[in-house]
Subunit: 600 residues, 2 copies
């Protein structure tokens, strides 16, 4: 019986095997007759545009989805792959394979060396993530797939996804690297090294030659225990175990497992040896430690130079093994090359394990992202000249807003647009539909980011005041800041950055110079509290107040050129005495610095 | 030759030994003839009021300062203890001892069991932090010290310091727990358990009986490697090692140490066995895991019920092994009992190691704190009825500020005062000197917090908007918020909290109703930029603007009672049309809720 109780997504699968004549490795050695264990789910379409390769993490295997005919077990990503799920097997052809160096069907140190007929053990060559991906490419080719719709995976799976976009830029339309890094850090190497030393300190390891006797079970268990701590978070361990005792009411005052967390780790450590080979532990952790996408290519930005994929990068707040800053390093390089990269940091207590456990949180984004990429790919295939980012439905409220109408009037069709504080992406979606723009957004609220990505809009989760630094000069035609300037802590920095990365900056704000505001301040002797500024002084999101005159004066001071100014009163323009009568101002400005403007 | 090159603080020391008939342990067993290794620095004064006990961390020993006559080595806290240093041996009598269960002179598993004449090994009883402290109390008693001026230590040393304040509340005037916790978390237990399992997995461990053969060197090395990772931070490892290779230009494609971080960990692991006993590793980590100050006492707050010590709690930003939130848990309990606790989270990249490495950063605070406590203790001893917190010099700028003069006029002598956003503590120091108040502060800027604590003012580092929740109702007579209300994101929450924890709230703010502000807004049609509001709209720390009328209206709305209102214009009172002419308003208000007022 399967432990996986779900009904709709239950489908039987079988692991298959593919063999190849040889594989040239990064270490210089050529591996003969490598074999790959793999599974596929769903059907390849006639145009061969719907293939997705999912990539497993450290101790995973080819069995990613469905129910194994052999073991009756669900796959490691069954919550994400299946009919109607994020990787929807009714629409996509999903491929999963065990990595090179593994112990679950693909050639690794436990395999027989065809040259000697004996197990490789430590005579297996040291491999890299690049080698793993090279073998996957052979598999994909053999399945008749020229270009993957997407590569996706968490942790070491994310490393493979990133390697794919760099090694085979023409063979990948999109990448979803989750909870991962572009290079292993000193701390990550250190944890892996502890695991390796624990294995190699076990006399049963016997220099790797234990296949005919007993494996280094105690060393491997200690290694796995360390691993488990790094996969969880302080908070999730507190929640799951706290200081609860195991099978006792008081301390035992001995060295048996007093605490539940001790007993859990001992159990997990001792179980691991039944399903994982200690030598594979050594080889695969070494491959991760060697991983540095930038190293041989000069820099990460250079590494991505030929990359044409769109990205969805996900990280988790409590993941301290692959912390968000590592995803941000990857994103900074992508954005410096103006590569389309959506990003969301999901809130989770699960630590690194979140990438496997928070399926629900990730599903809507993966669904929306894949749909959007698939639409792009199909459109490019069918009518390449009209390829445009189409979006689904747009709420009526966009259509009703006069200031949005004004923004839309200013923005040129098919231009590159960045919307700062884009909320759930409605304006970009609307501009995509009506102006066929290549639109992206920056938004700080994770809920909004999720909703935007789920509707196929590329949004980067960030504080606006930090979020523009990575973009090159002139990356966009228009940068929009709508009704947000007055909420910025440092509005000048934001305006300067807008004018650096965009040829034009469109700024809208409520006019603090409106007669009602001024009169209220004078007559009442109180902080203005009007229809336009509806908050009491002590509970307002507005941090700075500015009038139309303030903004115009600033433009003069900074020598910014005002290209358009539209003053809004109700649902029409206020043409007379706008600083007195306009409720909202819409400005389009540009820098007077010719070089910046030419940067586009 | 000593590796410690400093000249001024170099003084020779010798480890001494004290024996006691027996020690009753928490496990129920009585240990016979325990021996303690200890050192002392400086001289006990005639009044016996200057003794400080410093407490070592996991792998430390009695040799805390000076140069060992035996080994020629400096002590583990030599940068903090010595003539003119933070623990100034010209003024204080400093005591340090090796913990129970250790392997550096104090009785532990490697000692001979007097009952059998053989090593205890695993027949040594399981001990607790409480047991360690009980043995230290015997040592202190034998040295003729009735009450310690302070107990101080980092990590496990901090646990002992906390245990002292609870187990012997009358014997401790002050405590300095650094980078520590009131109870070990699941994650901390987990890391210790991995270390223990690594040792016990080593066949050389031999159930602890290895003293006549070779010790479990490989297991202990793996345990120490894990420890080292947790003592550093991701950032410090990146800084110290990055991905630098060891003695090579390219990957070795083998399992020797490719990276510097690997070689460092291997070296540190292998060295540890020369100075530390594997069985002590087991016993001392178990004592830490058992540590939970709250457990047997119901709650942490109850544990501190009889505690009369003043506290200086320090933590470090990058310490993920004993993260700041654990210090905050201790502080919340202390503050809920209205115990005087200063707190600073120091900025450091060093991780948990920071408590040993950031001596300079800690020294000024420890110096100021100890001086202030010593002054209190001396004063109480000499003239108990007039014990007051005297402070050193107060800057002239306090004396010159008219609004401070007004605050001072309102505050009653010898009252309990809390100053929110207290900066570097000048006002509290001034009130201490001139009004003999029991003053404390809350301040967010770590530099200000350091300066305040260094001048002996008790300041708690926190956001004002978060910082009051732990205090009980009516903990203070006066709570001051000076010139800060307009910078608060949620001013209402702050005002409500002030009125909850204080009988009176004193609030001062710049008057946005001042004629210059209003006229500027009306006439210029721009955001007011005047002498009183000297910032351009886009670069102002002020987040909310309020006028005197706004504040009065709010008091009416909330039924707060205005006890005093003083309006300041230049250096005198503005009595006519204050909302028009006053630049600054000083209010003293109280809640109309009688129960809150009675809570005092």
């Amino acid at each position: 019986m399967s432990a996986f109780a779900s009904t709709e997504t239950e489908f039987e699968v079988e692991t298959r095997y593919a063999s190849f004549p040889s594989l040239a490795l990064d270490c210089g050695i050529t591996l003969l007759n490598p074999e790959v264990a793999y599974e596929t789910y769903g059907e390849l379409n006639a145009e061969r545009t719907n293939a997705i390769l999912v990539l497993h993490a450290f101790s995973g295997d080819a069995h990613a989805a469905g129910v194994s005919r052999e073991s009756g077990q669900p796959g490691w990503w069954s919550a994400m792959i299946g009919p109607g799920l994020a990787f929807d097997t009714d629409r996509y052809f999903v491929i999963s394979s065990n990595v090179l160096g593994g112990c679950r069907g693909t050639t690794g140190p436990g395999s027989l060396d065809p040259a000697t007929g004996e197990r490789y053990a430590m005579r297996f060559p040291v491999i890299t993530i690049g080698d793993m991906v090279r073998l996957q490419k052979m598999l994909i080719d053999s399945l008749g797939v020229e270009r993957l719709l997407a590569v996706a995976g968490g942790s070491m799976g994310g490393m493979q996804a990133l390697e794919w976009t760099v090694a085979y830029p023409d063979a990948v339309a999109a990448a979803i690297p989750i909870a991962t890094t572009s290079r292993h850090s000193a701390q990550q190497i250190a944890f892996n090294e502890v695991g390796r030393q624990a294995i190699m300190a076990d006399p049963d390891w016997n220099q790797g030659d234990y296949y005919d006797s007993k494996p280094p079970a105690r060393g491997l268990a200690v290694a796995r225990m360390v691993g488990h701590i790094t996969y969880m978070s302080d908070a999730s361990m507190r929640q799951k175990f706290g200081r609860r005792l195991r099978d006792r009411d008081a301390f035992g005052f001995d060295f048996s497992a007093d605490f539940e967390v001790e007993s859990y780790l001992r159990y997990r450590g001792s179980q691991f040896v039944t399903r994982f080979d200690a030598n594979s532990y050594l080889y695969i952790t070494k491959a991760m430690d060697y991983f540095d996408l930038a190293a041989s290519r000069g820099s990460l930005a250079v590494a991505f130079e030929r990359t044409r994929a769109r990205f969805l990068v996900l990280s988790f707040t409590s993941d301290w093994l692959y912390p968000t800053y590592q995803s941000l390093e990857t994103l900074a390089a992508l954005r410096s090359r103006n590569i389309d990269a959506a990003f969301c940091e999901l809130t989770s207590n699960y630590g690194h394990d979140a990438f496997l456990l928070e399926a629900k949180e990730q599903s809507d984004m993966v669904t929306g992202f894949l749909e959007s990429v698939h639409r792009d790919v199909q459109a490019a295939k069918r009518e390449p000249e009209a390829a445009k980012r189409a979006s689904a439905s747009v709420a009526q409220e966009i259509v009703d807003r006069f200031d949005y109408a004004m923004i839309a009037e200013i923005i040129e069709p098919e231009s590159r647009v960045l919307d700062l504080g884009c909320g759930d992406g409605q304006l970009i979606a609307w501009l995509g539909e009506h102006k066929r723009v290549d639109g992206r957004g920056v938004e700080i609220d994770p809920g909004n980011v999720r909703r935007a990505i789920a509707r196929g809009v590329s949004v980067y989760q960030s504080d606006i005041e930090q979020g523009l630094a990575d973009y090159p000069d002139g990356a966009f035609d228009f940068v929009i800041l709508s009704h947000t300037l007055q909420e910025m802590r440092y509005p000048m920095r934001v305006l300067r950055e807008m004018l650096r990365v965009g040829r034009h900056a469109i700024v809208t704000f409520p006019n603090f110079g409106h007669w009602s505001t001024r009169l209220a301040h004078l007559v009442s002797g109180r902080s203005p509290n009007t229809k336009l500024f509806p908050y009491p002084w002590h509970d307002s999101p507005n941090l700075h107040f500015l009038t139309i005159h303030d903004f115009l004066a600033l433009c003069r001071e900074q020598s910014w050129i005002v290209e358009r100014q539209i003053f809004v009163r109700g649902n029409r323009e206020a043409r007379v005495l706008p600083n007195v009568f306009a409720e909202v101002a819409v400005f389009s400005i540009r820098s007077s610095d010719a070089s910046a403007a030419a940067g586009a």
